[in-house]
Amino acid sequence: MKFAKTIFAGAIFALQAAAAPAGEAVPPDQVKFEDFAVAESLTGVPGDPQAGAEVFRDRGLGNCLACHANSAMEEELFHGTVGPSLDGVGSRWEPAQLRAIVADAKKVFGEETVMPGFYSLNVGANVAKDRVGQTILTAQQVEDVVAYLATLKE
């Protein structure tokens, strides 16, 4: 079961996001942050770094390049400078810490950070009607991005 899902994930990204069955993922308000880290996978399904790269790049999903430079994506025009470069980030942080940063950066950097919480319902006022109650990324997309970040070594 697990095995089949991972293979699909690599091949068809859109299907993979939808395929994480409801109920299996840790709900956003029950993610356990300890010592600025989230030790446990949000889904139990290993992250797929290739799918994670797509989530990272996609302007409608992670849109990470809006704020971060990433030399591994040099072919993309214009990298933002609002956050630090993510070059070598996989050497600076453990996967559990990366999971915490991506899921809810405010739990790691404090309330003032501008980095959005990608798997958090602690959001701003007047959320657009079609986004109410939804996280920016699904639990599996967070796992995939974390797997991708872990590949960005010094």
Binding site: L77, F78, H79, G124, A128, K129, R131
Partner: protein, 295 residues
Amino acid sequence: MRRGAWEGLPVRGKFAAIGAGVLVASALAFSAVQAEPVDETLSIDGVEMTTRAKAQEGLPFDEVLSGWLFREAETRQLEADSFENPGMLYVERGEEIWNTVEGPAGQSCASCHGDAAESMAGIAAHYPKWDADSQRPINIELRIDKCRVEHMGLEPYKFDSDDQKALTTYIKHQSLGEPVNLDLAEGDMQSWWERGKERYYLRTGQLNFACASCHEANSGLYIRADHLSQGQANGFPTYRLKQADMVSLHNRLRGCIRDTRAETPAAFSDELMALEVYLTWRGTGLSVETPAVRQ
């Protein structure tokens, strides 16, 4: 679906076509060389603009800076030359409307106000202004509507109609170079200012950004290809190259709010009028630059 600053508009053909685009991109991405606003002066038709002014008390910077200082050389040049500035076409169109008789009263704006170069000189630098009749602040768009309804027997303009943008641009242009300065002592202006300030620092939407997240905390940095300015209001309506059109202030504010993935408030709503009062105050001392040119 239109995409705003957050998800980004496609890179313009011209820029992408020249190989320089790639060079610029990697310079931005990996060394942030151009992160500071430029140290240049802007003069339009021989009139020097104030693009840096001492910040009002309570603001977290020493100086307030016009958005012009954050734009690329090519864009800055377009604004500096009124023969090249595409926004000047709207000024011309606005002048036509000013002189055209419309409505049952058989009058034009000029019938009552004469030559706008005299009657409207400098007035827009002091808007939004308190309106005793409606007991709220009004901007130039709403002031125009007031004359259309009360003096000409016409309907208010539809928001962002071409004529509204052209006439607003024309009237604001009569204040070119004039320093922005609001009278907060009139009516309840002060409480609208406070409400606008609260709104400025309120985080909204799924992305959880306040205006300050981008225009205060990160002004001078790049969000993707966009060099973040202080988000000043002094150039509106502005000519936006990306849209190849004139953009009103409330259109821009709605775009910035939509980009946080929040519900978008209506133009001229209390929320946006409060924000306009506060935002305009933040730019006190900057010259009116209408029609400014932005990317």
